[in-house]
């Protein structure tokens, strides 16, 4: 029987209103934007004075409403055009063939920011799936950046050897930092959250030490800035330096990491051990899985990926490291924790979550420049989205999404029928 369009639309609606993880994430984004709008309304002087005007008889309610919509709309519009694409510019480029680099800059920036974030988040996500809370991804990323930058600036060789060696150095740096909590947990039971969290501070110290060392510090400088990495060690812009688009070959490294993570978790025997350990450590032990090995290996992999994220950031974007490398707002190791949670620790989920976070960050900057609304709004939206995802009950209640529990009961009991 051919399926009627009504049937498929009905199915689509049911899919949209059933609380699968993807659906919850989309609705959480909508709620996050609503929260952002409330923040804009209650803090924007223009909007507030328009509403105050009603009480003083200066403005009509309709006007106040219009001011509100205009301002909130402008904020979100600039956020979108600043992080994805400006439809007008796109049309212009398409018809005239000109100014492609201006048109593509927003999406290029978003991809540039998302690249190391995807890699680090996958590292954190694999650990989460194993039941390990690697809060130290930032420190692991920093040491990855330091070792990678050292190899990239102090050794000199052709590109074919230099780039792989630089990336390997980054991975090794992350693994080294990851190994510490791994070994401590496996052999002494030390809690990984405390150890990794504290190690972040140690690594911050290592970063400054190395930046003031004669070997790595930029010669004739007293600032905490490293030497610039050799061009042969840099991940070049995909469209060439002349294009002005910063998106670089690190993107392909990220894609390779996503593919590896998918294979590892879904298809590899070791990944199966990891998932069993994460879901039920007792059953894992009874099934002959060696918990020590799993703990150490997961920290090596997770740390290695964080280190890779650090060196991809340095080799792809900045080409040197300084005292602000991955510290504070740029701490991708911390953002990675939120992104992994938002992406439910699954490779493709993490890709979408990273793109969202990168777009909100990049778009927030464009919005700040265009409307004067501070960049912090992007952070508020990011946090709100994560909060709403973390509390799916709230989202399903607000949107009255139908629960899938009845169908679960059906499935559970089908086997008993007649």
């Amino acid at each position: 029987m051919p399926s009627s369009p009504f049937k498929s639309i009905g199915a689509l609606w049911r899919r949209l209103t059933s609380r699968g993880p993807v659906v919850v994430a989309i609705f959480a984004l909508v709620l996050g934007l609503v929260v952002g709008a409330i923040v804009i309304i209650t803090t924007s002087p223009v909007i507030l004075s328009a509403w105050r005007g009603i009480f003083h008889g200066w403005t009509a309610p309709g006007h106040a409403l219009k001011v509100t919509f205009d301002n909130v709309g402008a904020a979100y519009r600039t956020m979108f055009t600043g992080s994805v694409i400006d439809p007008q510019g796109f049309w212009h480029s398409l018809t005239t063939g000109k100014s492609w680099s201006t048109t593509l800059t927003p999406i290029s920036e978003t991809l540039t920011y998302a690249t190391p974030l995807v890699i680090a988040s996958i590292g954190v996500g694999i650990a989460f799936q194993t039941g390990i809370f690697n809060i130290g991804a930032n420190g692991q990323a920093i040491l990855g950046g330091v070792l990678g930058a050292a190899v990239g600036s102090l050794l000199h060789m052709p590109t074919v050897a230099h780039i792989p060696l630089t990336l390997v150095a980054g991975v090794a740096g992350g693994m080294l930092v990851g190994l510490v909590p791994g070994v401590l947990k496996a052999y002494t039971g030390a809690h990984e959250v405390i150890v990794t969290l504290m190690l972040n501070y140690v690594i911050n110290g290592v970063l400054y030490l190395s930046l003031f060392s004669t070997a790595l510090q930029l010669p004739n400088q007293s600032n905490d800035v490293s030497r610039t990495m050799d061009p042969s060690a840099q991940l070049a812009p995909i469209f060439g330096t002349a294009s002005g688009l910063r998106v670089n070959y690190g993107l392909f490294v990220a894609i390779a990491v996503v593919a590896f993570a998918w294979w590892f978790l879904e298809r590899s025997s070791l990944g199966f051990d990891f998932r069993v350990t994460g879901a039920n450590p007792h059953a894992a032990r009874a099934s002959g899985i060696n918990a020590r090995t799993v703990i150490i290996v997961v920290f090596v992999i997770s740390g290695g990926l964080a280190g890779l994220a650090g060196i991809v950031q340095a080799a792809g974007t900045t080409h040197f490291i300084d005292g602000g490398f991955l510290i504070g707002n740029a701490g991708i190791g911390f953002t990675a924790i939120t992104v992994a949670l938002l992406g439910r620790n699954r490779p493709m989920g993490i890709v979408w979550a990273s793109l969202l976070f990168a777009a909100l960050g990049v778009g927030g900057r464009a919005m700040q420049a265009a409307t004067g609304i501070p960049l912090d709004l992007a952070t508020i939206i990011q946090s709100a989205v994560v909060l709403f995802v973390a509390t799916p009950v709230l989202v399903t209640e607000i949107f009255r999404l139908r629960t899938t529990s009845t169908s679960a009961v059906q499935l559970a009991t089908q086997g008993w029928g007649s």
Partner: protein
Amino acid sequence: MRLELRGITKRFGSFTANNKIDLTVEPGQIHCLLGENGAGKSTLMNVLFGLLHADEGEILIDGEPVRFANSGDAVRRGIGMVHQHFMLVPVFTVAENVVLGFEPTKSFNRLDYRRASEEIREVSRTFNLEVDPDAVIEGLPVGLQQRVEILKALTHDAELLILDEPTAVLTPQEIDALMAIMRSLAAAGKSILFITHKLKEVRAVADVITIIRQGQVVGSAEPTATEAELASLMVGRDVNLVVHKEERTPGENVIEIRDLVVRDDRGLAAVNGVSLDVRAGEIVALAGVQGNGQTELVEALAGMRPIESGTVTLRGRDVTNASPRHILDAGLGHIPEDRQRNGLVLSMSVADNLILNTPRRTPFARRGTRNLAAVETNAAEQVKNFDIRTGSIDDPVASLSGGNQQKVIVARELSRPLSALVASQPTRGLDVGSIEYVHRQIVKERNEGLGVLIVSSELDEVLALGDRIAVMHAGKISGVVDPSTSRENIGLLMAGASEVGAGA
């Protein structure tokens, strides 16, 4: 209280969990609701307790129709429920748990702890339910925790008590104590709705028995009915309660345990010098009251607990203090006591659970990459061979009934090459149909020459399956006897009498 359910129907989507159920409980009556796992007993009780709402039908209390919006309404109308999994705060005292939500207070809203304790003492005296109100819940044995639940219901003036599978977690002694409590409560005029799938208990305690199957009342019975009659009503076909075993001469030793000493979590020698042999083609049943070291013994055999001294040999290979991996590879099959904790990963699929301890064996993986096609082929085969009732092999194992979850473990262990099998409480919490099935599988393996060690606190199971019965008491084997030994003598051994004294 006189409770009447009329035509209760509850549907989940297209599935009808309860279909026009009629049930009447008279004051002072112990009414048994008997049915297999998944028959709809718990759904019906949740409807009665206000946790679910019936699609059709009505509930009458003393002839008056009532509607419960939530469980609070049900409690106010005098219905108390003791859940299968206790709803107690482990770090609180008995008194604190009992008054939780209805705390008596002094001035300035301070908790009146003394009054709470006195109230509890009074209720315990009235109904002969001895509990120390100041004891902390987590320090109490399971039987006493259950008593606290009952006490809690009684302090809230319950006239009708719903007991949902109350014996699943109890030792034989605790079950006897519970039965006595139920009888005295009924004598005091309370009505009791007792939900179970255990035939022996039903016959021991019930005034009236209602049997439900696939959501419908299929009949009622007198407590004088035989177990076989009740079982066939419950399952819908004749059930063979006697396990058929053919004569077999045991072969050489497959498991040799010598002078084993194993410590429990508190550092005490829970297994204190046990020596035991299991031969090929025989079932050795390890009987004993729970907590006499059986759990620790099995954990030590499976490599999950360090062995202090002594040796374990498996088919001539020394596996003392070997890793679980090593022991699995040496061919020891293990059906763990706590299947949801140690035997399964509930969130993973039936297919993955069926290869949980052999994921790297050919053909399930090659050079570190899993072969999902082979995993699925294997799952389809096992689901068919072992009659595992599941919607799909990709469904999480959590969606299966307890009996089918156990079948997944049995299928997994018996489908790989074994040199011996250790099964710990293999039928705990299972319905009659599944028990029969698991028993048949184990006996089949024994007939084919496998050596089996069964640990069970159910004497019926021990007597039905064992070719030899070893009784464990206080960490030692107090006797190894023939299955023709009388229950009384085995009981004496379980209580710690020596073999000679028991006259075996």
